[in-house]
């Protein structure tokens, strides 16, 4: 019921390296902190924060999965999950009030909290589970790509990136324009065979994930016992090797 822009000038998004993410949760709390503190949107509430059932809203969560391949030992993958800022964002088109919208200039999907009635249709429409209804404000919360950081002249230029990208200790999160094939993020996607999440859903997500590199032994051949098998054994080898120093 709400229209998407016909096209966007840029497609800002994240490239998340699953080969490098250690699952440390830095992106989770740095996001929560900035997006509560900045005041651009309503705070991300925490209900029963010191009680038996603490529940807060987060814009980004990290899930850890075990993958047991057909051959070889099990692998653990840390998977950060947030809004993918889809080109064909079903959360926007399903919104009955126009609160969910996508910016024409850079493709960021946002929620106009003043217009949001908390009906939850967008969360239902999102195949990625990227939206959470705030327990206190009753409005829908989602990743803003830190829209109030990335062009904020009150921040040092180097800090005009999403909070999660600045915080990420392993450098597993990258931010940029994925519509520009020359951008650093686009090149990274090309080099590392970055992929879109669940493309069959037809939402044309902007964010990309870099796959874990293949795991396992390098297949090194065992060392030849050159010293042990030398004349005089190891000591003989040693004596001659010292002569060559």
């Amino acid at each position: 019921m709400t229209a998407l822009p016909a096209r966007t000038e840029k497609s800002l998004g994240l490239v998340i390296d699953l080969d490098t993410c250690v699952g440390c949760q830095a992106c989770v709390t740095s996001c929560k902190e900035w997006n509560s503190a900045s005041g651009t949107h309503l705070p991300l509430a925490d209900l029963d924060p010191y009680g038996a059932s603490p529940r807060g809203s987060f814009l980004n969560r990290v899930h850890s999965f075990e993958v047991v391949p057909a051959a070889g030992p099990a692998v653990v993958v840390h998977f950060p999950r947030s809004c993918l800022h889809c080109a064909d964002a079903p959360c926007v088109t399903v919104c009955p009030t126009g609160a969910s919208w996508k910016r024409a200039e850079d493709g960021i999907v946002l929620v106009d909290e003043g217009a949001c009635i908390g009906c939850g249709l967008c969360a239902w429409a999102c195949p990625y589970g990227a939206r959470e209804l705030d327990g206190a404000a009753g409005v829908m919360k989602k990743c803003t790509l830190c829209v109030d950081r990335i062009g904020n002249p009150n921040l040092p230029a180097a800090d005009r990136v999403p909070a999660c990208v600045k915080a990420c200790p392993t450098g597993a999160r990258h931010f940029g324009d994925l519509a520009d094939p020359a951008s650093a993020v686009s090149r990274l996607v090309a080099e590392r065979e970055g992929f879109a999440l669940m493309p069959e859903q037809g939402t044309r997500p902007v964010n990309r994930y870099l796959p874990p590199r293949p795991r396992g032994p390098a297949g090194a051949a065992p060392l030849a016992p050159a010293a042990a098998a030398a004349p005089g054994g190891f000591l003989g080898w040693l004596d001659r090797a010292l002569d060559r120093l």
Partner: protein
């Protein structure tokens, strides 16, 4: 039509940004604290800071929730109910200080050792240790003894540096990185940054770890080693390298003791370095065929042949080492079973190490001159690096395992060479250049030096004429000669038992000894609360200083409330464990970016200032002026004006007139300079001094000029640790100070000057119970978003991990018929607990594990007693005895490494059985009353500024 609502996209969130140092864990990152209306609005990483370069971890980014936590203490507390109940009342600071002085002053006058002052995650040990020294009690240490002292001690005794605090991988140049047993133990962000650098280059990372989580999850290869067997794996790798001749002989000959001759004569010098009349260790020069000093210019040490004099052969260290390494017991096939790693995998790993070290030349075009005067045109690299931490350290064979790892590094020539391990200033600093431990001087008198240090032989032990320990924790005794960080996990048990003597006051700072920081937690709580027949407590007085309402607070008679990390001064000093990185000597401060306000209460004070105040009230030397008035106004005053040696103070930056670094007179404007610079100071190591530091003239001169040492101190790496051999000699009947009879065999066996592997005593005991009695190894690891007990009071972090599960290997899960939501009984030789379980495939098949310190006692930390941390969260600590069972000799050994006293947390062996329906957490304890009430029912951070 697309909508375009308007948003404020350029908020100015702060009135002011203040830069200080994080304390959400031990990592000590630089942070920028954004203040609005005088309150903390936002915290992010400082891009200029050498530790974190702008990044921040989950803990650091949740700092505001820690700072505002409802568990913060608000006033000094006096216990009003039984110990452990939590019944306390708030008192004034005057009353609190009077009480403390009233308890401590008589002790100092009569028996200062009756004060045991132990600090936990203390980042001010150069102050707290000095305070203990001036009080006159040897009973001081921080938490290193139950943390990673095995890594620290093995590093210093072998290399003169250690992982984390005093050394780091050369992340920028390594081409292969191998991690042994590392979780979020230490150096949180630098390791993550480093791994990110390796990954960005596609550098191969190999994890040796029973569990494939966290760092191990992103490793390119994973070796699922069985806990406690790392030493065997390392010795097998070394054997492979030797048999293949893939070792750096030139490096070994020049920079290590490989060529130093070992005295072969029977008698009191057997096994010590052979020395000349000036005490210089000797090598056999290959050209002359005669002994020359190791340090002599042009020496060509012979690693193969010994030197025969008076019919006795003195063989070089390397011959002894080669014999040890080539022992058939260290063949890959021989160790494969115990390690749980196929021999072929071990061989392949050895081949990878050799290829990385030797097959792709790396050299930096940096000419340098060594201490012998020889010029080198370049710095030749060995780009294979290692890191190891608690997975190796927390076993009772951890010291010798860490030794083996450092010897492996030396064989590869990969320490202080580009691409390998690099020291962080103040290291390199070998054991001989470190202080010795100091014992009691008597009533009213300070110790003659710091309580902790590095013994070089039996003469440095703190024991009496009968060999009995002088310290309460028995550190530096025959039971743990190299207990260089003390043995904190034995303090309560020994105090309760009056062994070796009763004490009067336990004084803990920032240590949760009544819960997750003690072994045998249930019994420990009992000891703290135990009474004599006359009704008095067995341990008469307990004082704790903490910022938060921990379990320990409830067991304390007097609580001195500390500030949060944003409300205080601190110095992370080069006298202690600074923030240096390999390229820079650095230290840093914290300063009160907000004032400590606790409206309606007596308030909190920074502990270090309280300690100096207490010292002044007690009249401790150095803390009072001649007229008896306090020498220091507060900790900030001390940080600026205290001098340990002339010109050397707690902070190295901006000394003298502000232009001096390292040495210089106190500068009244020093802290302002730190604050203006983001809270830290650093001096870059000159390029020509940045590698081969122990032997590099440029480093030795620079370190001397900067006050890190008083004179150039080149030294060889110690493949053979002579101090260990001195203890063995004593056990063999030599010297004036010998171990008691019942400890002789133990000293002879474990204080081997060469690395070796032995089953941890705890494992031997489990195996003695019969095959299958305790078939599983049990471990904990620290989760990345949590720091010990602290995380659970943090509204954000506890949502990430509010309850732990015991992860069981899938085979066990299936064979025992476990189902989702099940609980299990977990039994060790020490006890049984009942806990929630879950299956996991990515772990060693003989290992179970969980996250540490998630379980909380009901009522603590301002949490609802029904919080999942209390109803489902659990500790493995209940299964771990601080003493091993009697092994038939009538004695119970400490559950510790026999060399260092390191707490052997990871030697735990268990069996696991399915609990029936309706199982619940066991053991369960009554809730503690909360001295700070409960937290609010909602948090809306940021709502005040909309």
């Amino acid at each position: 039509m697309a909508r375009t609502p308007t948003l404020e996209l350029a908020p100015r969130i702060a009135d002011e940004v203040r830069r200080t140092t994080c304390y959400m864990c031990a990592c000590r990152c630089g942070i920028e604290v954004h203040l609005k209306d005088g309150r903390v609005r936002h915290i992010e990483g400082n891009r200029d800071h050498p530790v974190n370069r702008g990044v921040l971890c989950a803990k650091g980014a949740s700092g505001v929730m820690q700072h505002n936590a409802p568990s913060r203490l608000r006033a000094p507390l006096l216990r009003t109910g039984p110990r452990g109940s939590g019944a306390m009342r708030e008192i004034s600071w005057d009353e609190a200080m009077d009480l403390a002085v009233g308890w401590l002053a008589p002790l100092r006058a009569t028996a200062p050792e009756k004060l045991a002052f132990f600090t936990g995650r203390d980042q001010s040990q150069s102050l707290t240790g000095w305070w203990a020294q001036m009080f006159g009690t040897p009973n001081f240490a921080a938490h290193g003894g139950f943390c990673s002292v095995n890594m620290a001690a093995a590093g210093i005794y072998t290399l003169g540096g250690a992982f984390w605090e005093f050394g780091a991988p050369d992340w920028e140049r390594s081409r292969l990185h191998v991690m042994f047993g590392v979780a979020e133990d230490h150096d949180s962000n630098p390791i993550k940054i480093g791994l990110g650098r390796l990954k960005a280059r596609g550098t191969r990372v190999i994890a040796v770890n029973p569990v494939r989580t966290g760092y191990a999850a992103i490793a390119d290869d994973w070796i699922a080693i069985t806990p406690g067997s790392d030493g065997l794996l390392i010795l097998a790798l070394a054997q492979e390298l030797l048999r293949a001749g893939r070792i750096d002989l030139d490096y070994l000959a020049r920079w290590t003791d490989a060529g130093i001759l070992v005295d072969g004569r029977e008698g009191p010098t057997k096994g010590l370095y052979l020395r000349d009349a000036e005490g210089r260790p000797l090598v056999r020069d290959r050209r002359q065929g005669a002994p020359v000093p190791w340090e002599a210019a042009g020496a060509a040490p012979d690693l193969a042949r010994g030197w025969v004099a008076d019919g006795v052969e003195h063989r070089p260290v390397f011959r002894h080492l080669a014999d040890r390494l080539l022992d058939p017991a260290h063949a890959p096939e021989a160790v494969a079973g115990r390690c749980g790693v196929p021999a072929a995998r071990i061989r392949a790993l050895a081949a990878e190490l050799a290829a990385a070290a030797f097959d792709a030349p790396l050299s930096l075009p940096r000419p340098w001159t060594d201490f012998r005067g020889e010029r080198h045109a370049e710095m030749v690299g060995r780009p294979v690096s290692f890191h190891a931490m608690r997975g190796i350290a927390a076993h009772a064979n951890g010291f010798q395992t860490a030794r083996a790892l450092h010897v492996l590094q030396c064989l590869l020539g990969a320490v202080e060479a580009p691409g390998g391990m690099r020291f962080k200033p103040p290291c390199p600093r070998p054991a001989a250049a470190q202080p010795r431990p100091h014992g009691m001087q008597g009533p009213g008198r300070p110790l003659a030096g710091p309580p902790l240090g590095f013994p070089l032989g039996p003469e440095d032990l703190l024991v009496d004429a009968e060999g009995r320990p002088q310290r309460l924790d028995k550190a530096f005794s025959w039971e743990a000669p190299l207990a260089v960080h003390g043995i904190m996990h034995m303090v309560i048990a020994n105090a309760h038992a009056g062994d070796p003597y009763p004490v009067d006051t336990l004084f803990f700072y920032m240590a949760n000894m009544a819960w997750n920081s003690s072994m045998n937690t249930a019994a420990t709580m009992g000891m703290l609360a135990d009474r004599r027949p006359d009704g008095e407590y067995v341990i008469p007085h307990i004082i704790c200083a903490d910022a938060y309402s921990s379990e320990m607070v409830a067991y304390s008679d007097l609580v001195l409330p500390d500030t949060t990390y944003l409300e205080r001064h601190d110095c992370i000093s080069l006298l202690d464990r600074p923030i240096s990185e390999p390229e820079a000597m650095a230290d840093s401060i914290r300063w009160p970016v907000v004032a400590p306000e606790r409206p309606g209460h007596a308030g909190v004070r920074p502990f270090q200032s309280v300690l100096l105040d207490l010292g002044a009230r007690l009249g401790l030397p150095g803390m009072v002026r001649e007229d008896g008035s306090p020498r220091y106004r507060d900790y900030a005053d001390y940080m600026v004006n205290h001098e340990r040696r002339p010109g050397i103070g707690p902070l190295a930056g901006w000394r003298g007139d502000g232009s001096a670094g390292g040495r210089g007179a106190p500068n009244p404007g020093q802290l302002d300079r730190y604050i203006a610079n983001g809270g830290f100071w650093q001096a870059h190591v000159p390029d020509g001094a940045a590698f081969f530091k122990p032997w590099n003239r440029a480093w030795q001169d620079w370190a001397t000029a900067m006050g890190l040492q008083d004179r150039p101190t080149p030294y060889p790496f110690a493949l053979w640790v002579e101090p260990l051999r001195r203890f063995q000699l004593a056990a063999e009947g030599h010297g004036p100070r010998q171990p008691p009879a019942h400890l002789r065999d133990r000293i002879r066996r474990y204080l081997d000057p060469l690395p070796f592997w032995h089953p941890p005593p705890g494992a031997e005991e489990a195996e003695a119970a019969g095959a299958g009695a305790f078939p599983l190894h049990a471990l904990t690891q620290r989760p990345m978003p949590m720091y010990h007990s602290w995380g659970s009071q943090n509204a954000w972090l506890r949502q990430i991990l509010g309850q732990n599960l015991l992860f069981l290997p899938e085979e066990l899960w299936r064979s025992e018929g476990f189902a989702a939501g099940d609980w299990a009984h977990v039994t060790s030789p020490h006890g049984t607990i009942t806990v929630p379980v879950a299956p996991m495939a990515a772990q060693n098949a003989a290992t179970v594990w969980t996250w540490n310190a998630i379980g909380k006692r009901a009522g603590a930390w301002a949490l609802d007693p029904a919080a999942p941390e209390a109803t489902g969260g659990f500790l493995l600590n209940h299964l771990i005895g601080e003493l091993l069972p009697d092994r038939g000799d009538g004695r119970r050994w400490s559950n510790s490494d026999p060399v260092t006293g390191q707490a052997a947390w990871f030697d735990l062996r268990v069996r696991v059985t399915r609990a029936g329906p309706g199982a619940s957490l066991a053991p369960a304890f009554p809730a503690q009353a909360s001295p700070v009430g409960r937290g609010p029912d909602r948090v809306l951070h940021g709502s005040d500024w909309r």
